[in-house]
Amino acid sequence: MGRYLSIFLTFARACLVRDMTFRANFLLECVTSLGWMSMNLAFYVLVFQFTPEIGKGTGWTREPFFAFVATGLIINSIVQALFMPSAEELTEMVRTGGLDAVLVQPLDAQFLLSMHRVDFSSFANGLVGCGLLGWALARMDHAPSTTAWLLYPLLVLCGVAILYSLVIMLAAATILLGRNQSLYDFWFYLTNFSRYPAEIYAGPWGGPLRALCTFVIPILLVVNVPARVIAQPLEGGAWGLVALAVTAAVVALVVSRLVFQAALTKYRSASS
């Protein structure tokens, strides 16, 4: 474990050295990702020009909703920074055979493939997310309880774990199929569902969709559960969600690991 941490830190250091070599590019990346985020925030501000709440009686009024958005930013920035750059590079590695070099090294392939790149610029969004969370919570009617504050980091981690498992599943699919452009689009579209409160998925179509994205692909638990705990009163229903999020995270990690291992045995390697 200690060895893996030290290897990870070596990776992180190397990435930092590289980011600092191409400083202008790094800054540009920070700026664009902040730009993307502020654009989404502007859209939400616009939406709240027309309505006091998202969904009648859901409790997602302006400030709680921004706490929700902030939680999403924090979770996504962690995933974007730690896992996505490696996963994106995997396509290239499968295509050119770079994966071969990884497989001959005495190290867990899943670790190496999902964590060898760190994108520091993605942390920028997370920092803004923290600021936004503070702003939203300060302006809310009720303050989160101590229990909520204790649960929040744990649930954020669960959210990260669920998304990480999804990344690993996509990586496995990449190894099997040899390419994955649509798969990363799929990632984008799927995580898109997690961007809004689960309550909006209501009605004859929304209900089943909500169930699917909660129990089968637990994408709705990623942001919803931590955001709910921090931004809404902790009531009976919330505890069930907490248990569900923790269970989903564990199951997702195990399943994705198994799928990934199976995919590696099917790896064909690019011909050179």
Partner: protein
């Protein structure tokens, strides 16, 4: 595309020249189609998934309308908004050019652009032909999910507009394809000057996403002043090329724009197509000149 058929003595006549050119185009089109079909799995999956973000948007606006006391937002009823998002899907299917700018920039960076400097083929025409092929195959596959979704959602649409409106809609779509193509191609050619254009492309996508109306109907910006008296943000955006790649055709179909305003907007759109096509040409000429001067 590049230069008109020449009738100078000793050269083939314009018809012959045109026929040759068409044959080259057809070959390029056929090759592109084959290339697309080779990755059919990705392709079908990708097409179906493009509807997913709409689903979220529809639920979001449904939730907004459930909580508000208004009957409409910026002139859009709940059903109008759903119809609007679905229609922007159609316009985006024409105007979006996935991978075009990035592909050009990459081929400049890795030197594969040399191929087009050597071969007797015009690069911009080649890209356009490839893109048309790409789009045709996309429509051939996408027509199925599109038809299904539009049939299921037929209740959200107002009655079919009149023939003139439909004609204007079709014209605006064709122009939006050309506009999207030339904007992205020009962007990609910045690769001749900048080593790393991915950030520029991303910045462009941001602006495009916000100002094209992809995110929300631009009429919602009508209430926001620009600081100039009597001019709202929505008014200002009308003079930019972006809204013609998503908002404009959708708004035409929904009857939000008509009469002289419609004619004026179509003229602006056509003008932007001409401007961007010229910009693309100039960027190619100057870029390749610079490229050969610096030896790649």
């Amino acid at each position: 595309m590049s230069g008109l058929p020449t009738t100078a003595a000793g050269r083939p006549g314009p018809l012959r020249e045109l026929a040759t050119r068409l044959r080259v185009w057809w070959t390029m089109l056929a090759i592109s189609l084959e290339e697309r079909l080779a990755y059919r799995g990705d392709f079908i999956l990708g097409t179906a998934m493009r509807f997913l973000p709409i689903v979220t948007q529809v639920f979001l606006w449904t939730a907004v309308f459930a909580a508000t006391t208004r009957s409409d937002i910026a002139g859009y009823s709940r059903t109008d908004i759903v119809a609007y998002y679905l229609l922007t899907m159609v316009t985006r299917a024409f105007s979006s050019m996935p991978g075009l700018a990035g592909g050009i920039a990459r081929s400049v960076r890795d030197g594969s652009i040399k191929k087009y400097l050597v071969q007797p083929v015009d690069y911009v025409s080649f890209l356009l032909a490839a893109r048309i092929a790409h789009k045709l195959v996309y429509y051939a596959v996408a027509i199925v999910p599109f038809a299904v979704v539009f049939f299921l959602c037929r209740g959200y649409f107002p009655p079919l507009p009149d023939a003139a409106t439909i004609a204007a809609f079709v014209l605006s779509l064709v122009l939006s394809f050309l506009l999207g193509f030339f904007m992205e191609a020009t962007l990609g050619m910045l690769g001749f000057w900048f080593l790393e254009v991915s950030s520029i492309i991303f910045a462009y996508m941001l602006v495009q996403y916000l100002l094209s109306g992809h995110m929300f109907p631009l009429d919602m910006l009508a209430g926001i002043p620009t600081g100039i008296a009597g001019v709202s943000v929505a008014d200002a955006v009308r003079w930019l090329p972006f809204e013609y790649t998503a908002y404009f055709p959708a708004a035409v179909w929904l009857g939000k724009i008509h009469g002289p305003e419609l004619v004026r907007s179509l003229a602006i759109e056509a003008a932007w197509v001409v401007v961007m096509a010229a910009a693309c040409r100039v960027a190619w000429w100057r870029g390749t000149r610079r490229y050969s001067a610096f030896g790649g």
